[in-house]
Symmetry: C2
Subunit: 358 residues, 2 copies
């Protein structure tokens, strides 16, 4: 049927499922999409129109010996049952995010993968986003000194998109949809335990699920972070705003517009007070001209394998997964802690400083 | 000595004291500055150079029957003793902010003012700031619908200014210095009880006092607010960022640069997904062209008496104070709650919903 090494079937041929087929796997040297399965008629039709064989049932996919990989791109609530069935059928599994709604379910999947000696890899695609990699480079290379505060935001004005993402039982809401990305990036960047979490959820749209949130996280190494998702924001604050001991970095958008402002070394003239409203301020005056330098954001060159290159390396035993299940599990546990903080309106201080129950 | 109705002496002729003389009271029709008192020699010299009589002691000021008003512009820790002595000597008192470090001290001053039937008015000058009045107009007139989230920030890169503001015992730190303004404005604008407070202080400069903070406040009417002061920010986020049910308003700076973006009524085309990093997003895509309108910030026309006009009206019995002591007291109590939240790393939920102990 194909000369490529691995055959993949997409389960759930909606927006993300078809994005894998048309973009992420397009031109891949090793993996061939050989079919799809979706329980919705319109998506089967779309799959056929796109030239893919459509399976009649999930069990038809799992009993097909030609299938090496199952990609799960369904609503969140059925990820677990499909993943476990696929792993038990001897398939490798790629799963869209958030992998499960509850961390205990991921633990069960991880155990099933281990028993069957199959790969289970979550598609945390935004670890490869250039805005994130740019900020990670600034952080890693101490371009603004030691980073001590990171604000990471995505803000839209369109509300929650119109499908299962509205519904709690399907794993809807913005924490699970976008929060999982921002938190995964943050924890991938900062190698330190979390000491406390405070969260406030927004329900301004009157939905069953959160339409956004602000989360304040403190790390054991002293870094603080404000993580925010909004769907009621008609003006956008910067995607990243990061403070270091020697300067500040801002990335405005996905086109990586932004800048770095750093303090010059040596003695500098004190700032002159400015008129600010009905008073004078020296504290909030701009630094004197020679006190700071503005520079461009650093260019990121490719630093790691692409997601699917890595998937192939993992199943061939030549690399560790870039997205490790233990990392994904920690993010899920953090999201559970964020839900708990928001529901109780309390700071939660026992995350990461006590061993996970699982 | 003068034909004006009221004579005022400035106690503490530093930055703020001389600012009152040179700016706020310059050209005032009713109040004449007739002298100053400062315990520092260099400031007496400055006062003489500026043409003001310098008193030898505080008691010399208080025993001078020609003095109607004492303006207190000393470090925060001695506001109370000077205020009480001046009120007991039959003087009206104007006091710089923060009026006292502890709310109980303000209560004592208020009682002393009442017993002596003298005016005691705190100079919360930033209620007259144009940026604040612009945002208050947007809020009051529901220009972006019902406001449900307000972010109010001042961010500098100069650290804490080099005097008593570094020292805890003098009432230093950014919460007391700038926080008092932002909180006073916020509570003056929002007529609702506070239901919870979460605060995180920054000590990145290694000072004895906070060099900045982020405070998250929730109000009984559903409004949430993020209040922030920073002195380690080489790039500034907007002064105000406010979300309403029909739009968002931003004010970037004290020059009132900014804009309003509101949702158009009627059916609008759904937004088109955009490529964002390694994925597509409809949620975070810009609204379709006809879905929103951008407009200028509204002009604020003078809506209330100036601070010193109001002071004269108050002592003549023709107006209520614009800055009411009960309001100032509530802000002090809120700052005490913020200190408590930051010190314990806890959400404080009993502020405003139980009667004040005083």
């Amino acid at each position: 049927m194909t000369s490529k090494n691995y055959h993949l079937v997409i389960v759930g041929y909606g927006g993300m499922g078809s994005y894998h087929a048309k973009h992420l796997l397009k031109g891949n040297q090793n993996i061939e999409v050989i079919g799809t399965y979706d329980k919705h008629e319109d998506r089967r039709t779309a799959s056929m129109a796109d030239g893919y064989k459509t399976y009649e049932s999930l069990s038809a996919v799992l009993s097909d010996d030609a299938v090496d990989f199952v990609l799960i791109a369904t609503p969140n609530d059925v990820h677990k049952e499909i993943a476990i069935a696929a792993l038990n059928a001897g398939k490798h599994v790629i799963c869209e995010k958030p992998v499960t709604i509850y961390s205990a379910d991921l633990v069960e999947i991880m155990e099933t993968a281990k028993i069957n000696d199959r790969a289970f890899i979550v598609h945390q695609n935004r670890r490869w986003d250039e805005d994130f990699l740019t900020m990670k480079k600034i952080y890693d290379e101490q371009i603004i000194g030691d980073v001590f505060h990171i604000e990471t935001r995505v803000q839209g004005a369109n509300g929650i998109p119109g499908d299962w993402r509205h519904l709690k039982e399907y794993g809807g809401g913005m924490l699970l949809d976008w929060g999982v990305h921002l938190l995964d990036q943050l924890l991938f960047m900062i190698d330190s335990k979390i000491t406390s979490v405070f969260a406030n959820f927004s329900y301004i749209l009157g939905e069953d699920v959160d339409d956004g949130f602000q989360v304040f996280i403190t790390f054991e190494n002293g870094i603080t972070s404000l993580v925010e998702v909004g769907t009621t924001n008609f003006i956008q604050l910067p995607r990243w705003y990061t403070k270091g001991t020697k300067g500040t970095a801002v990335i405005h958008d996905w086109e990586i517009n932004g800048k770095i402002v750093t303090q010059n070394s040596g003695e500098v003239e004190a700032p002159k007070p400015i008129k600010a409203g009905q008073g004078l301020t020296k504290t909030m005056a701009p630094p004197s001209e020679k006190a700071v330098s503005t520079s461009d954001l650093p260019k990121v060159v490719k630093t790691m394998e692409s997601f699917y290159e890595n998937v192939v390396s993992v199943v061939e035993g030549s690399a560790e997964p870039i997205v490790k299940n233990e990392e994904v599990l920690r993010v899920l546990r953090l999201m559970e802690t964020i839900f708990k903080s928001a529901e109780t309106n309390q700071v939660i201080q026992d995350f990461d400083l006590v061993p996970a129950k699982n």
